[in-house]
């Protein structure tokens, strides 16, 4: 069956989902993480650029934290933390081949976003305390802690880089799952801020 395009369907309406700052945050974070990650693994020995993109990631995460407290309703952390029952109920019907028309994170997406952002935060903060003993790529806060903690920071910074890679891959896979299996485009709303939903679906999330 071919569904009529939502844009032409009179039963659909266009609603605002993501505010401009959260969209800018999302794409800037994606860019900075990718660039910092590649520079970290394959970049020049003098890692100045890796440091700058890492600082940008930290700044963006600080913004996200702030926006999670005082931003628009659907980006506030409290709005997308659900209880385990809600998560399980969502999980049970997640594989239905139909769009969710949600106007924010779904219960699993919200949980995932928290995990991803937290791991990224720990990863980036650990980077500040790394001392690889090459005298040129020393984290700006490395001198504040013991050698032993410098080494632990190095271990966690390296190890979590693979977790970040895995979580980012999972994130993209989930977007593909929604697009291909559930026929719900989550990318366009993150670019335009708008989403087509059945009339009456908004604002009941």
């Amino acid at each position: 069956m071919i569904r009529p395009s939502a844009a032409e369907d009179p039963n659909f309406e266009t609603v605002r989902v993501w505010d401009p700052l959260i969209r800018l945050f999302h794409w800037a974070l994606a860019l900075c993480v990718i660039v910092a990650w590649i520079l970290g693994k394959y970049g020049p020995d003098v890692m100045t650029l890796h440091f700058y993109f890492g600082y940008a990631v930290l700044g963006l995460l600080a913004f996200r934290l702030l926006w999670g407290l005082v931003g628009p309703a659907n980006v506030r952390v409290a709005s997308f933390v659900y209880g385990p029952v809600t998560v399980l109920v969502y999980l049970r019907q997640m594989f239905r081949r139909q769009p969710t028309y949600r106007l924010g994170h779904n219960p699993i997406g919200g949980f995932f976003a928290l995990v991803l952002l937290t791991v990224l935060m720990v990863h980036a903060v650990a980077g500040l305390f790394v001392d690889p003993e090459d005298y040129i790529n020393v984290g700006p806060l490395a001198h504040l802690v013991s050698d032993s903690l410098n080494r632990k920071a190095l271990y966690w910074h390296n190890t979590l880089s693979w977790y970040v890679l895995g979580l980012a891959a999972l994130h993209v896979a989930a977007i593909a799952f929604y697009a291909l299996w559930k026929r719900e485009d989550l990318v366009r709303p993150m670019i335009t801020g708008r989403k087509q939903v059945p009339k009456g679906a908004a604002p009941h999330n």
Binding site: P44, D45, V46, P132, E133, D134, Y135, I136, N137, R151, K152, L154, Y155, N158
Partner: protein, 151 residues
Amino acid sequence: MRKAVIPALLLALPLGAFAADLEEAVDARQGYYSLLGFEMHSLVAMAKGEVEYDAEKAKGHAADMLTLTKYDAAGLFPPGTSKADMPGKTRALPAIWEDPESVQEKGAAFVAAVKDLNEVAGEGRGQLGKAVQDLGGTCKGCHDDYRAEDF
């Protein structure tokens, strides 16, 4: 019974001595890199401006590093002294012994960088800084592949 114990003791003695030798090799190895790090630290402090640049002192530290490159460090890496052999004691990865040619190559890059450093150490803070960066890069080259993050 007693007859069996004595040869066993005789066997154990040299083995114990051998293990102690390996530990000493690791201690000496770490001492060697501490010396390099000490000189490097002084040079970086000058390059960063944390300590006032002094051409004579910079040349002295660079010369000390050059002296250290003339020491044949191969003897500090006897087999049986990797992190796999001595966890908690060393961060030297077994890859060092599995891929000696690459290690040699990286070592040669380090020696070349020390030589370059010696040519410019007395030529001012800017030139020193550049040479120290290049040298630090050769430290990183080995640390990335041949040293574990933690003990």
